[in-house]
Homo-oligomer: 339 residues x 2
DNA sequence: AGTCCAAGGGCAATCGATTGCCGAGCAAGA
DNA sequence: TCTTGCTCGGCAATCGATTGCCCTTGGACT
């Protein structure tokens, strides 16, 4: 605390050389006579010199810092994404600024501006809203390397990494059909973001393609939460005429649906099959264990950071890349037809 | 990207004044003639000037950044803690460096050093290990404001914020006794950290005090995970002689115990009562809903940041504060005696 | 021995904002 | 009118590390 930190000059003085030399030894940016190098290293060690990354950042024009903006860290899916990004950054010796936009495009825009001011080397963002987030994302992307993760808004020349939601829905519906499902409902959020929309469209398309019947009032909108899923489940399962399956746009919703089914005495999977999305850790611990789509977050993180690195090196305007990883269906008891 | 960012000098040139004046207008550090102020503001707006926080940090010797090191962001309890800290920081206009030590004291030490080099204004850390983390925490605390959150190691003159684990255990045991429990087991982790130890000691003490019988082989060590809780549950519930209650050191363990009970046909709460700790969001969604101890994470975050602020202002060596908030028992079906 | 060249140490500028100090200008009081 | 003092703009130093350029030194080759 009181310990004024040691600077390069201190080391230089103790070693009896110039600051330049010390800098060169420590950053290995140019060869230095072995004897001098040893002296410098000894001096640095003795003083416990560790460098001032602020000064270095100012001079080098890079901070070795990446900013990440997510809609809600409390949603376990984004937690997994944050974890994957943090791990990957740690290996590169970089650090993460974590920002939670709380589902609010304005907070999101504020954070993006703040990250620019902080001169982060790059930004990873999962935009809150397909429309309301666009302007800020576009503006930010024009000033610093940026990659969208999971959700995206349409902005020219911007990279995106996520999973192929259409393919995921194809797997889900095909699996349900193979297990005897003829009618299905779909529960999602009313957020107007890309993955929400893609999953909905995908479900519609593949249900139709594979002959699974739906009804307009079997499409229920809420938000990504257990409570919302529970409400939807109650609504869908209260009448006489209930679907063979309820497909959910994420696991939290599915958990709520399972809860509703249990309360209402609807047997899962015998009478009703339920699927989720994200394959949260909890998916295997609910009752019955939930069939879900696994998102390969480590690979998504790797890919996102790779794209950032490319943009950090080549400052010229690059065309946008869209990397859609193919997700995997994890089958568990919530959809297995017994016997 | 290509857009070289505007500097203070650019604004000064456009406004026809000196850099000092621009700086004073924008930071309101000294009054400036209204007419000039207006000119400067117009110039800044026109250029879209937004400042370089790296340069400012170098000069001001503060970064408006706080570092946080947690054992695992994937554990929902720490996620909640991170969320609370992030919210509180956002209100202050600060940003969070998030670091995950992965339960590894060495990674933890590395991150602490890194945060020092990054010149963060303060550090919030939940140490991995009661012994192995101590040296790094002590060293770090001597160089920058630091507060321990949830877990702690014993280091002189260092602040800590957490809940009163002993009080929590007192509430748990008293509640169980009131619901007819005469014998109880305790499942925890083998991590040698403070909260693990305090909860164990607290359980022992209050069980004895309130006449709840225990046995040495009813103390099961594993780690903080559903799997570990499941294994412990299977072990405790397989024989003939099972306890009236299983007290768990966190909710994840309790979830696993509940799962085991269900598989083995042990009725909860009628035959067995189960309690958790942390009151995770999921606690109310498992079956049966789990009785747990609520940790007031928003208040913990507030308190931690308050302590940091104090140390940031008064550079002199302060005595360490220990703030133990009193937790609340949330009673749900997993312990309610029917009828 | 003389010439050339490479290696490597040091000087000083630089990154961009903040701030102590100087002094010009103006108002108020005697 | 002269003095005193206050307000506020600007100069230049500063935070700490990096790096372009110069210059010394010494080895190699003729």
């Amino acid at each position: 605390m009181a310990v004024a930190s040691v600077t390069l000059s201190d080391v230089a003085r103790l070693a009896g050389v110039s600051k330049s030399t010390v800098s060169r030894v420590l950053s290995q940016s140019r060869p230095v006579t072995p004897a001098i190098e040893a002296t410098v290293r000894r001096a640095a060690a003795e003083l416990g010199y560790s460098g001032n990354s602020i000064a270095r950042a100012l001079r080098r024009q890079r901070t070795d810092t990446v900013g990440m903006v997510v809609p809600s860290i409390l949603n376990p899916f984004f937690t997994a994404l944050v974890d994957s990004i943090e791990r990957a950054l740690h290996e590169e010796g970089r650090v993460l600024f974590l920002c939670d936009s709380r589902q609010d495009p304005e907070i999101e825009a504020g954070y993006l501006r703040l990250l620019i001011d902080r001169k982060v080397d790059g930004i990873v963002v999962s935009p809150v809203d397909g429309e309301l987030s666009r302007a800020a994302i576009a503006e930010t992307a024009s000033q610093t390397p940026l990659v969208q993760l999971d959700r995206r808004v349409n902005v020219e020349n911007t990279d995106w990494v996520g999973v192929d939601d259409d393919d995921a829905m194809s797997q889900v519906v095909a699996h349900l059909v193979a297990n005897g499902v003829r009618t299905a409902a779909f529960v999602t959020s009313d957020f107007t973001n890309s993955s929400t929309r893609d999953r909905l469209d995908g479900f519609r398309r593949h249900a139709k393609r594979l002959g699974v019947a739906t009804r307009e009032d079997w499409f229920v909108l809420g938000d990504y939460s257990v409570e919302s899923g529970h409400a939807a489940g109650v609504r869908l399962l209260s009448g006489e005429d209930i679907p063979d399956a309820i497909v959910c746009a994420d696991d939290l919703i599915a958990f709520g649906v399972l809860q509703a089914a249990r309360e209402l005495g609807v047997a899962v999977p015998d009478r009703l099959k339920v699927t989720g999305f994200d394959n949260l850790v909890f998916a295997e611990h609910v009752i019955p264990p939930l069939t879900s789509i696994e998102q390969p977050t480590p690979q998504m993180a790797e890919e996102a950071l790779r794209l950032l690195r490319v943009r950090m090196q080549r400052k010229d305007r690059l065309p946008g890349a869209r990397v859609a990883l193919v997700p995997r269906l994890i089958v568990r008891d919530s959809t297995r037809s017994r016997g």
